[in-house]
Amino acid sequence: MSPLFPVPRLVAALAAVSVALVLQASLFSHLTVQGVVPDLVLLVVVATGLVHGSEVGLVLGFGAGLLLDLAPPADHYAGRWALALMAVGYVAGRLGSSGHPRVSQWLPVAAAASFVGTSVFALTGLVLRDPAVGVGELLRVETVAVALDVALALVVVPLTMRLFAKVEPHRVLAFTPRKRVERAPRAQATLTRGPRDA
């Protein structure tokens, strides 16, 4: 059994999450839309789930969410983003495993994962009465957040996927081998098409 996070992948994931976290906290806090900051960390987790499958996505989501819960600007109950990003990583991995990571395919996945993530975070907030805001406000913020995430996903997800492909160039995406065996002619075509993440 290969480890979930071989060292290069661990380093890449940690770097991606850290950069996303710092950028989200400092750069994108200046570029808010109605006060909503794009969830860069969430998008990194989405990309991880797309590239490495739902298990890696789940674990990385937990870790990244934990960082997000504990890193300075955060003041909500710790564990909320961890739970939300776990769901994100899992969803991204599951949905992503059914197709090829082209933009037309991973963008809906990113949107869905973003929706799931912000929803889980909002729901935990509702349950814990953490931010004492109404459902209407939550929905408004969530809508803006998902829209922002989808827009930012166009940049963040390819970058992260490229990073993962760079640190593990020999590695084929987690979900591809079975498809190739099942549908040989198309797999051949897929193989000649070159790297997936290009």
């Binding site: 937990f62 504990l70 890193a71 300075p72």
Partner: protein, 319 residues
């Protein structure tokens, strides 16, 4: 990982293969998380939330602090690096705003400054208009307002001024020119838009005058001086009458009001000299009008004169 070890080998083969519903051996889809992992992580999240929920989060605070020690400086560093860049649109915006505001303030400043510079002037002009209106009322003539636009050079030795009203304003030569204080002079000639006024202080000017209280008549001669020392000499027809100091002198008036209408105040008696040799006496009149500071004047016109500007009627209203 722990459940992997504790579970029976039959349920979890070491190759991670398992039986699917159809009973055939199937490899676990790679990358799919084990249920135990999911449960463990979810429980970890819930535990964390609970820990943070109770006791005000004192249990999580060390963790927060630890992460903050790592990411806080990174965030502030990035923020410091990013702030100037992020601020650029704001700068541009505010720079634009500021430039606009500077322009606005500049023009406002200029306006205020010019207002300040001319406020006394404006106040005086307003006062002059008021006075002129009052004069029109008090002397009972219609006036065409005009402003002094030019003063004849002193080396011409003729005390004349140019006013900005001419024949189009209904002006003709030999019309009386007054201002709020009193008699200014008479019109010598007109153009369509300007008129030349001979001031009563001119040495060639002679005005029929009447001493107000006694109605004694005489002739006023100018001395040619402007300014504070401008004086008029009054030569009374009645040689025996000695005007009292401070008596006011008004115009006597001529036929058809030309060149001077009657009853316009000219000045007051300052002193009286009698010349025994010439058997005449001369009264020095201090004019009411400050000829060195003439601005707004009124030209006495017949009531109903058509003019290119408003005419102050005798009752004080504008027409």
């Amino acid at each position: 990982m722990t459940d992997l070890l504790t579970r029976p080998a039959s349920r979890r083969p070491p190759v991670e293969d398992r039986l699917n519903r159809r009973g055939s051996l199937e490899a676990r889809e790679p990358g799919r998380p084990r249920r135990s992992l999911v449960v463990a992580l979810v429980l970890a999240c819930v535990t964390l939330m609970t820990l943070d929920h109770v006791d005000g989060g004192t249990a999580v605070d060390p963790l927060r602090r630890l992460v903050g020690e790592v990411y806080g400086p990174a965030e502030s560093g990035v923020d410091a690096a990013v702030r100037p860049v992020v601020a650029v649109p704001h700068w541009l915006r505010s720079l634009h705003d500021l430039a606009g505001r500077i322009d606005d303030l500049q023009s406002e400043n200029d306006q205020l400054r010019s207002q300040l510079a001319t406020s006394d002037y404006d106040r005086n002009r307003l006062q002059e208009y008021d006075d002129l209106t009052a004069t029109a009322e008090s002397i009972g003539y219609a006036l065409v307002p005009a402003r002094v636009v030019g003063i004849g050079p002193a080396q011409s030795f003729s005390r004349t001024v140019t006013i900005d009203a001419g024949s189009r304003a209904g002006l003709k030569p030999d019309m009386t020119v007054v201002n709020g204080a009193g008699l200014v002079g008479r019109i010598l000639r007109v153009t369509s838009t300007t008129a030349t006024v001979l001031l009563v202080v001119d040495a060639d000017s002679t005005v029929g005058a009447r001493v107000g209280r006694s109605m004694k008549v005489g002739f006023l001669h100018g001395r040619g001086d402007l300014g504070q020392q401008a004086r008029l000499d009054l030569e009374l027809v009645d040689q025996t009458y000695v005007p009292a100091k401070g008596e006011s002198v008004v115009t006597w008036g001529s036929q058809d009001g030309a060149p001077y209408v009657s009853g316009v105040p000219v000045g007051r008696v300052e002193s009286v000299y009698s010349s025994l040799r010439e058997t005449t006496q001369r009264a020095v009149i201090e004019p009411f009008v400050d000829f060195s500071a003439l601005d707004l004047v009124g030209v006495v016109v017949p009531s109903g004169t058509t003019s290119d500007r408003s005419v102050i009627e005798a009752d004080g209203r504008l027409r």
